[in-house]
Symmetry: C2
Subunit: 345 residues, 2 copies
């Protein structure tokens, strides 16, 4: 039996608990052992919930329970999540997360602690939700020099841009519809400003190139100022406006990263990645371009990536070399070359 | 130092040698050790080749050299390749291959021998060339019950169907162009008859559902009889004719598998997978549909998948539970339900 604790019981955290239970036979078969939930840490105890008995409010209970070897961090943000992740790793517990903000800001320190304490910090779910991308990048493409990674990394903005085109409506109206459908937060700033995409492309670049740059220092343009005219003009010219995060290793050794709305021509599959879907392209020097596509967010897709990491952590309690990168927060950000005709900016 | 032998020095085998040398720094970094070529087994020694010194003609040299712990089988077919793979695994050597014919026919026996001798039989390159798909399916999606796998698995037939549509030409003319470009073999039978796709969908189904069915017993329809009229009619109705391999776990526990040309409607990304590219969709009960896309064949893309498996084998000399399935060659093949409106047959 492998005991886990879930810290933060919001949308993703509760999805992890539910999916663990719904697919328990599949999980047990994949692991050759059962995964048992032991604690849920959250301020709010949902009265009457089937999970009520697991709830605790004191993190040190988890920290000091040697039976708990894997902590699922679904608190979000870089406050308590950072402290609890650090303390878990320092105790030699592996931590699995979907928290892109924490990985993008403190990831280099956290993977370094994990290495020191022979544990693992795993975060497949932090980019592309349930779409397998970080592990295939690190593992299946490891015989390649990675040249470039780019894609549609935020479902909210992609939904808005898709709606503007299909319904011929302005940004403000499309945002309102996205909020009504629950695809955009009441405060949508981190999505529409491009900040969420910036975090994700920094994580992808760290996995591809070995250094984690500061997402606050890279050039980021959101979609607030994309006009309906621009969207319709792009369509007339045979393309689609997409918010693209892009990172490349430059000849001088610097990493170039940017986030901006770009017109993607129709011969690139990303132009057909619509609604809340994500698409991520990796270009390696041997394989050429490969694309990973699917639901980039959502409770169960994201939980499925979290649980795959839990199984991986339970199979390998020693630190994995390939999930590692250096701190590049003080690195200068290189300037990306202008794109050719695959994607015209 | 990890010593390997390459058996069969054709297009893929020589690609493995070349890529190992070209990307040696990347490979050494990923593995934390160097991969050294020790032998090449082939009947033809290419005089003057930089690899001349590695050539041998007697397999037992490899078999009896304990220093060689990984054998790369790129002979193809199910004759000598089968014998040498068996003998390698029985000696506890791991075998890595791109040989879909061998995996599809004797894979269940070979993964079983690998399990018994605590070695690995790895074949990511046998489906989708360089596209990561088998490992993400087995690993990143392991928290999902897999419901269905389908896709465009053969680049030659996809090139022919793409050309028929784009140039308005008949099958015979498009095949001739594919042969001139080297995308189709002088004897294209196994591609155009759907046999190659059948082998690949059987391998995918084995990874997804745990049983390897006999590719000769599943219903297979190739593209020989697809007419230009059908291709143009599909386009008029907003779709594309694609050769689709498809497998699903049926409610009665049987596995349904088929290969046939299908009209894929434009709202499915597979309709935009053109030329020699492959696209593989996996549907899990939590993640929904995810798609993997890229070059499904070719010397360097395929070699990059082979070398990723070599690195994996070198990191884990013990048998991996997840690369395992039962022999289902005597299983009845279930009948797939007719497709809904995502893909109309």
């Amino acid at each position: 039996m492998v005991y886990i604790a879930i810290i933060g019981f919001g949308n993703i955290g509760s999805g992890v608990a539910e999916l663990l239970s719904a697919n328990s036979a599949k999980v047990a078969d994949a692991l050759g052992d059962t995964v048992e939930l032991k604690y849920i840490l959250d301020i709010n105890v949902p009265v009457g919930s089937p999970y009520e008995k697991y709830f605790i409010k004191d993190f040190s209970v988890i920290e000091n329970d040697p039976e708990v070897r894997i902590v699922v961090e679904t608190i979000g943000g870089a406050g308590a999540a950072y402290e609890f992740t650090r303390r878990s790793l320092l105790k030699g517990k592996s931590v699995v997360t979907s928290n892109k903000e924490l990985v993008a800001t403190h990831g280099a320190e956290l993977v370094s602690i994990a290495r020191d304490t022979n544990s693992n910090y795993l975060f497949e779910a932090s980019v592309g939700g349930g779409i397998p991308v970080l592990r295939p990048l690190a593992q299946c493409l490891q015989a390649n020099e990675i040249e470039e990674v780019y894609g549609i990394l935020n479902g909210t903005t992609n939904y808005i841009l898709t709606k503007m085109r299909s319904d011929g409506i302005r940004f403000e109206e499309a945002l309102k519809q996205a909020q009504e459908k629950g695809y955009a937060e009441p405060n949508p700033e981190s999505d529409i400003s491009g900040k969420d995409t910036a975090r994700k492309i920094c994580i992808l670049a760290a996995m591809a190139f070995g250094r984690l740059l500061d997402p606050d220092k890279i050039p980021v343009k959101g979609i607030q100022s994309v006009t309906l005219d621009e969207v319709l003009e792009a369509e007339k010219q045979g393309g689609s406006v997409k918010l693209i995060g892009r990172a490349a290793k430059l000849p001088d050794g610097q990493i170039g990263i940017s986030v901006e709305p770009v017109t993607v021509s129709r011969d690139n599959l990303l132009s057909d990645v619509n609604d809340v879907f994500n698409g991520i392209v990796v270009r390696g020097n041997a394989v050429g371009e490969v694309l990973f596509y699917g639901r980039g967010a959502g409770k169960l897709p994201t939980a499925s990536a979290v649980i795959a990491d839990v199984i991986d952590a339970a199979k390998h309690f020693h630190a994995r070399k390939r999930i590692y990168f250096e701190d590049g927060r003080n690195d200068a950000v290189g300037e990306l070359p202008v794109w050719g005709n695959t994607i015209n900016s």
